[in-house]
């Protein structure tokens, strides 16, 4: 009874905090401009199934892909056990499903155990890739401080979860073998049948019962801890990868978004169209200088980013020592959305006329934007279909169109196109190569 009450308290508080966190993320994503979703629904589902659920793009690099798959599949299948933990927690039962499912129950829990062992190995491998092997993409400046701690904390959390599972199942198996009342037989679990006795075989019934309960509570508390932590962490990708792949643009990677306002303006100016009397009184801002002028999809992508750095590792500018890092672009967008979101939530400002004297340009410098070759390597590299290039190009548009800034070296090219119709100012005619 006490345990049920305690469980309901934890579940209630955990869900409430998690709800607050997810609402905050949802609100912050809405800071972006509306963008409709067009294109074939079938292809969108295909992306969700193959890229998000099937992890297709992870397998460009098979070692981390396999390790990641262990953790991913273990995570998904452990949710089955979580159902039972909930039922037991609320009703004070013990392994509620075991008597009903029989051999199938043994099979499911055994699968969870095998995957948990694989996930344990993978987690240790990931910790060492980050902290011992120091893989280059995990050592970039944008990961200093919280992002690096965040990554390690998540991996640590995974180890705690797995420890919880084996304390719980191992303890249970020992108590079952001793015929202790209340611990009904569940058949042999793949790992804890031998791991349990090996670890806890020498302890008294009482001590093993404590370990079993400790494992159970450790597991469920870590689960709620994760749930509450997700909206503050790069680990949010486990949820947002799905909507993100659904909403990803289906147009060819080379195609830039059109700017219909400018198209209209130019056609009127060139006498190709007649003015329709709807001309704006003042010139609007073009491109993006803040998250509020980006699309909501850009912000969704920023929150979907798990900072793996495949984009940055593939970026030709980054590889040759330039300041540009596509991952940092995504992190900057997310952090700026957090900053604005927090200011609005505290009641200090409103979304409509937000102005704190800062912009995205305070985080993403012109030097970074100017280093991009628009090669789409970052877009191709992202396992969850994030597009850092789109943000870079929107900011370049703001720089040129609204700030009249940008590299001075581009001015002769602009002038040549405008005045001579060619990207270089040339004196000979365009078809002179024929002679």
């Amino acid at each position: 009874m006490l345990q049920s009450l305690l469980f309901l308290l934890v579940a209630g508080a955990g869900s409430w905090f998690a709800w607050k966190g997810f609402s905050r993320v949802w609100t912050n994503i809405q800071l972006g401009k509306p963008e409709t979703t067009t294109g074939d629904t079938g292809e969108r589902w295909r992306n969700v199934f193959l890229v998000a659920l099937g992890q297709q793009k992870m397998f460009k690099n098979w070692l981390p892909a396999v390790l990641h798959l262990f953790i991913y599949v273990a995570f998904v299948i452990t949710q089955v056990e979580l159902i039972e933990i909930f039922v037991d927690g609320i009703f004070g039962t013990h392994r509620f499903f075991a008597p009903y499912l029989g051999g199938f129950y043994t099979f499911v829990i055994s699968s969870i155990e095998v995957l948990s062992v694989l996930a344990f190995v993978a987690t240790l491998a990931f910790l060492s890739r980050r902290n011992l092997l120091r893989i280059a993409r995990f050592q970039k400046p944008e990961l200093k401080g919280f992002p690096s701690r965040d990554a390690n904390l998540i991996l640590l959390g995974e180890i705690i979860l797995i420890v919880g599972i084996f304390c719980m199942n191992g303890g249970d198996k020992v108590l079952q073998s001793r015929g202790v009342e209340h611990y009904h037989l569940t058949g042999n679990f793949a790992v804890s049948t031998w791991l349990g006795p090996a670890l806890f075989g020498g302890l008294s019934d009482g001590a093993v019962m404590v370990i079993e309960r400790f494992g159970w509570w450790l597991h469920i508390l870590t689960v709620f801890g994760f749930l509450c932590y997700l909206p503050y962490s790069k680990h949010l990708h486990i949820i947002l990868a799905f909507p993100n792949t659904w909403y990803a643009r289906l147009t060819p990677k080379g195609q830039m978004e059109n700017m219909p306002d400018i198209q209209k303006e130019v056609r009127i100016m060139m006498g190709l169209d007649q003015p329709d009397g709807n001309a704006p009184a003042e010139l609007p801002e073009f491109g993006a200088n803040d998250v509020t002028s980006l699309s909501w999809k850009n912000i969704l992508q920023a929150y979907s980013c798990t900072e793996c750095g495949r984009c940055t590792a593939a970026c030709p500018a980054n590889q040759t020592g330039k300041k540009l890092s596509p991952r940092k672009v995504m992190m900057d967008v997310r952090d700026r959305a957090e900053e604005i979101g927090a200011a609005i939530a505290s009641g200090k400002a409103s979304k409509e006329n937000y102005n704190d004297g800062k912009s995205l340009f305070d985080r993403i410098t012109a030097e970074e934007l100017h280093a991009c070759t628009t090669c789409n390597a970052c877009v191709e590299a992202c396992p969850v279909m994030i597009n850092p290039l789109d943000i870079i190009l929107q900011m370049r548009r703001h720089e040129i169109l609204s700030q009249s800034a940008g590299p001075a070296e581009w001015l002769p090219m602009f002038n040549a196109i405008e005045n001579a119709g060619a990207a270089w100012a040339m004196s000979e005619p365009r078809e002179a190569w024929r002679d």
């Binding site: 460009k60 700017m259 330039k322 300041k323 119709g421």
Partner: protein, 258 residues
């Protein structure tokens, strides 16, 4: 070599099957002009009735748009589309992947709808339907070469096989770089970088790419883009390998086998 403008052709009462979009590099850059002429000779040889726009062609707008100058892009694009639509153009071939991408993907929204081919795609078509027959042998048969995917033909438009199947038709010994196809490394010129100095860093991107190419120990490097050709040549020059290892456009190789 015959390469008439569409205006010249129309004055003779003829209509071209296809427009050859030469592009700024193909028109003015000495190295790219060779590719332009090679493609014209191939099209002449295959009996393809084509025309250029000549002085009526303008920059497609790719560098302006990627630099962020949408006004300029819209202006130059609208003028090109007016011209193309006035002549009733249906099909376009270009040797520049940047023009290819802009015309194919970005002009339709602005009212310019054409079938746009990269020249490697057209050359494949011509070989497939027997209009273009390659002679046996030649300088490139069995030659060890490596192929550089341009970003705007490759990742931007997923065209990886058309150039490779031409190389197969040429019987070359194709050795792929460690980064190829979807993972190909940029030459460093895209996104209007061609018109500016590099941002501060410790290496130029074309040097990084040429190192990939040199690892394959090639007799020649093949590309499909005027900017890539310039960047790769510069990179090889910096490595003092430009004498031994030439950089070709595929059309130049095809030309030797007619």
């Amino acid at each position: 070599m015959i390469a008439k403008t569409i205006a010249e052709l129309q004055s003779e009462g003829r209509t071209p099957e296809i427009i050859f979009w030469v592009g700024c590099a193909g028109s003015f850059d000495a190295r790219a002009q060779k590719v332009t002429r090679a493609l014209c000779e191939i099209l002449n040889h295959a009996g393809v009735e084509f025309a250029i726009l000549g002085s009526e062609e303008r920059c497609s707008g790719d560098p302006a748009r990627r630099a962020g100058n949408e006004f300029l892009f819209q202006m130059t694009a609208a003028m090109n589309i007016e011209t193309l639509n006035m002549y009733g153009v249906k099909k376009i071939v270009t040797a520049c992947p940047h023009c290819f991408n802009t015309l194919k993907n970005e002009y339709p929204e602005l009212g310019g709808n054409y079938e746009v081919l990269h020249h490697t795609q057209l050359l494949n078509e011509l070989i497939a339907n027997g209009k273009l027959k390659l002679k046996e042998g030649g300088d490139f048969k069995g030659k060890r070469i490596t192929y550089h995917d341009s970003c705007y033909l490759g990742r931007a438009n997923d065209v990886y096989e058309a150039p490779r199947s031409l190389l197969e038709a040429l019987d070359v010994d194709l050795v792929e770089m460690k980064r190829a196809r979807k993972n190909g490394l940029c030459c460093g010129a895209g996104g209007a970088q061609m018109w500016k100095e590099d941002e501060p860093g410790d290496k130029r991107i074309n040097i990084e790419r040429v190192e990939d190419a040199l690892e394959t120990n090639p007799g020649a490097v093949v590309a499909n883009c005027p900017f890539c050709i310039t960047m790769l040549q510069d990179g090889l020059k910096a490595k003092e390998k430009n004498e031994q290892i030439p950089v070709y456009d595929i059309s130049e190789m095809i030309l030797t086998r007619l």
